[in-house]
């Protein structure tokens, strides 16, 4: 089977590119489109650092064969960053020491974005559940949970 032409909308921009068979969404974002915010951690869907939104829902982009989402709308961390400055979640992570090495941060913020899109005033328990698929080895999670709650309060 030859490589296929993939057309997806990424962060509002229509992208058309050629993908080798078996390319993951994560691979296409990083290696073809140059969007390197989403990271490859475990590659099997247990660490969450590759979290992106496909058609509005948070997914592990390392588990999405890009050929299966032709025509979809994708949002990555780059797409949440305003032209000027930082998004409320990004600012809250910065202000509340919720990022240390930074490897989990893109996934954490995309999981939090998905939560706040459907639940603008989450409880602490809602936040814990929302990031339960995202692993952080530095912070012990408390500062991340706090940052998400503070961002929710600031924007709602």
């Amino acid at each position: 089977m030859p490589s296929s032409v993939i057309e997806i909308t990424v962060n509002g921009s229509e992208e058309e590119f050629i993908a080798k068979p078996g390319t993951t969404l994560l691979g296409a974002l990083r290696d073809t489109l140059g969007l390197t915010a989403a990271k490859r951690g475990c590659g099997v869907g247990t660490c969450g650092t590759c979290t992106c939104h496909v058609d509005g829902e948070a997914v592990m982009s390392c588990l999405v064969p890009v050929e299966t989402i032709n025509g979809a709308t994708v949002r990555t961390l780059e797409g949440t960053t305003p032209a000027d400055g930082l998004s409320p979640l990004q600012q809250a992570f910065l202000d509340n020491f919720a990022t240390q090495c930074g490897f989990c941060t893109p996934g954490m913020i995309m999981a939090a974005e998905a939560l706040l899109a459907v639940n603008p005033a989450p409880t602490r328990e809602d936040v814990v559940t929302a990031i339960s698929g995202n692993v952080c080895r530095c912070t012990g999670y408390e500062s991340i949970i706090e940052a998400i709650l503070i961002a929710a309060e600031a924007t709602s």
Binding site: M1, P21, G22, G43, V44, G45, G48, T51, E57, A58, V59, M60, C62, L63, V64, P65, E67, T68, I69, N70, A111, A114, L115, V128, T129, A130, S132, G133, N134
Partner: protein
């Protein structure tokens, strides 16, 4: 790896019959463990997603995600919340869960307790049908509160009892059901051991699973969801 994305069930069945690859849907279970020389047949665009409710009968398309099912079928919400993380539940499908190896596949344990019926076309599961029970009992013992595999899973409608985590596949605890029919919950808890054939893994030893199984059966049956 070749990626086939059939747009109908018939096309998927034909590809499967021709040995073109292994079936995947949510790509959360089998997919990450495939080698580069293995190919997949993705059911994502085969039109098998959706939940139809007719009275107390629920028909769930095989590629309905766990998130969609939880949204549409309230009595299963708490049970589904015990499975993986929200991000994985956005991808993992109801049909795929039937094939998740233990100690995963807690929804399959629920479906066994519900005596769900499976519809197939060829070797492709197309939908799963069950009735909304009057009562629903569920408990899952894990190493942590969320996003962990099962040590012991118990699901029951008050008549049938299904177990996960304690045997090579989801099992009905028939001896326990007989005790439960007599109203003997303590007897049912002990009798559940007859259905257990537990294993050691990174989450718990077989000894531990056997030791705590009666406790969780008793807890499940005394706490309706």
């Amino acid at each position: 790896m070749l990626v086939h994305v059939p747009t109908s069930v018939d096309e998927a069945v034909a590809l499967l019959d021709e040995g073109k690859g292994v079936l995947v849907a949510g790509c959360t279970g089998l997919y990450p463990h495939l080698g580069p020389d293995q190919s997949i047949i993705s059911l994502r665009n085969a039109g098998l997603s959706g939940v139809e409710t007719d009275g107390d009968t629920v028909r769930v398309g095989a590629t309905t995600t766990l998130t969609q099912l939880a949204r549409e079928v309230p009595f299963l919400r708490e049970s589904i919340a015990s499975i993986a993380s929200p991000t994985i539940r956005n991808m993992a499908t109801v049909g795929g869960n039937l094939f998740a190896p233990q100690p995963h596949g807690d929804l399959a344990v629920c479906l066994l307790a519900l005596d769900a019926q499976i519809d197939k076309t060829g070797d492709v599961v197309t939908s799963i049908t069950f009735k909304v029970p009057e009562h629903w009992y569920y408990t899952k013992a894990m190493r942590r509160k969320q996003n962990s595999a099962s040590i012991v899973t118990v699901a029951s409608d008050g008549v049938r009892i299904a177990l996960g985590g304690v045997a090579p596949g989801p099992v009905r605890a028939l001896a326990a059901e007989a005790k439960l029919a007599e109203g003997d919950i303590d007897g049912a808890a002990e009798a559940a051991l007859e259905a257990a054939d537990p294993f050691d893994d990174a989450y718990a030893s077989a000894w531990y699973r056997r030791r705590v199984l009666p406790v969780h059966v008793r807890r499940a049956l005394t706490n309706a969801v």
